[in-house]
Subunit: 270 residues, 2 copies
């Protein structure tokens, strides 16, 4: 890209930490392809500072929107005045823009991004028995999107048992079988890590792959490292795998629509 100018529009990405995010490069490429004069800017904001950050950002006249990442996805929802149904169902958001009233409009695309990537790369979700490990914003979005896409069961696991119970109840309410379970992969066709375990090299595997064979697919939402120990282990077992950046990349079309960058992409998200 060339340097920004005074006319360049802003797309922020907000996280804590933020050094690991890929959004600035990913959106830099998108902006060049679309011919949009905008730059994706990282903002490192602590959880206690999120409210003041959003109160300030709402007033930037040259802001197109914000991408929300860990650990702010659930907290950011509280500041939205307009929510998509899926964001309300998930209880978390990953994109914000300022609406006509001056308040935040929010959506949550992690779930549809995950399913879009999976069905484009590995195959249909329909009929699979899924296990989602990690019941935060991304995990909740993925579990609910897998249920919506026809998974036969979506079990969920979290180190915080109450959080797993609560998500299992929400998935069950959609009519798809869901139980809070331990993080044991045996018996599932689709195993998803949506917990932070794997970001640090000293982390244990987020899910036990004992007994998991090549018929199962294994996915991770972590983007740094690109290939986590879980993905490496799954590859050795012959499983089809999906890495975190694939979920992120698959959200670009939907986000470009949300932020108003492009009326239509080649493969719009649902």
């Amino acid at each position: 890209m060339t340097d920004p100018t005074g006319r360049t529009r802003l797309l922020g990405v907000v996280g804590d930490p933020v050094a690991q995010v890929r959004a600035p490069e990913l959106w830099g490429t998108v902006f060049r392809e679309l011919g949009v004069d905008a730059v994706c800017v990282p903002f490192h904001v602590r959880p206690t500072d999120l409210e003041a950050f959003l109160d300030g950002a709402r007033r930037w006249r040259n802001l197109d929107g914000l991408l929300i990442t860990v650990p702010h996805k659930a907290a950011a929802m509280r500041f939205a005045t307009e929510l998509s149904d899926r964001a309300r169902q998930v209880g978390a958001v990953n994109c914000l823009k300022v609406g006509e009233s001056g308040g935040w409009v929010a959506d949550m695309l992690d779930g549809v991004g995950f399913v879009t990537a999976f069905e484009g790369g590995i195959g249909p979700v329909g009929g699979r028995r899924a296990l989602v490990v990690g019941c935060g914003g991304a995990g909740s979005a993925i579990a609910l999107a897998l249920a919506d896409a026809g998974a036969s069961a979506v079990d969920v696991s979290d180190v915080d048992g109450a959080r797993a119970n609560e998500l299992a109840d929400r998935v069950s309410a959609t009519g798809v079988l869901s139980r809070p379970v331990a993080a044991l992969g045996r018996g599932y066709d689709l195993i998803v890590n949506a917990s932070p375990a794997g970001m640090r090299s000293t982390d244990p595997l987020p899910v036990d792959l004992d007994g998991v064979g090549p018929d199962a697919a294994v996915a991770d939402v972590i983007t740094e490292p690109a290939v986590t120990p879980l993905i490496r282990e799954a590859t050795q077992r012959g499983c089809a795998v999906q890495i975190g950046s694939q979920m992120t990349d698959a959200q670009v079309g939907g986000m470009a629509d949300f932020f108003g960058y492009a009326a239509a992409f080649a493969e719009p998200l649902r």
Copy 2:
């Protein structure tokens, strides 16, 4: 430049409007030369939103600082917890950074930038009879810096007569003759426009150049258009001229010091 990444540090430039600012390109070049992974980002912020903007920005963990431009230079001073002597004297600031206490530290480099550019490009300020038109943040900084650099007199003019009176008093207090006057250039060796007149093509000339000859130097602080009608008229009269971007460019070294980007530049500001 390459696209920003999640690790890229931020230098903001805050104005209303902001489309005309040259800082993003200027600092983009500086960052490349210094090998600093940072990006200068424009923020369009209305005066009524400045407080909330600064309250949010103070919390960005990857912020190196903010450049403050029209119309926020005087207002931003109110939010600084630590001020340089010259900023206090001028009553306005043009750069902010977060200090160790978490509050804003502020300085005002417009005046020294103006004098540095002038003495490097046109000649000594010492002994000149100066007229400064426009008594806002930039005009105040320039008037006081000209007095400090040895001008024999620094008269000031503003459409708001009370503002001109007040600045004349502050310049006089430094021991240099200063009177509030009409915007008539005749009889001065150094004529500076520090008012916004000239940003729009329909603006009248900010100062009457009738009787001004080639011995006088004429300067403008406006950066867009690069060459204002005043500068064009002065050039036709054979005057030496200084355009707005020269004042801006001459502040880069001092600002790089202020923001901690470089221990030393080839020609550090005083």
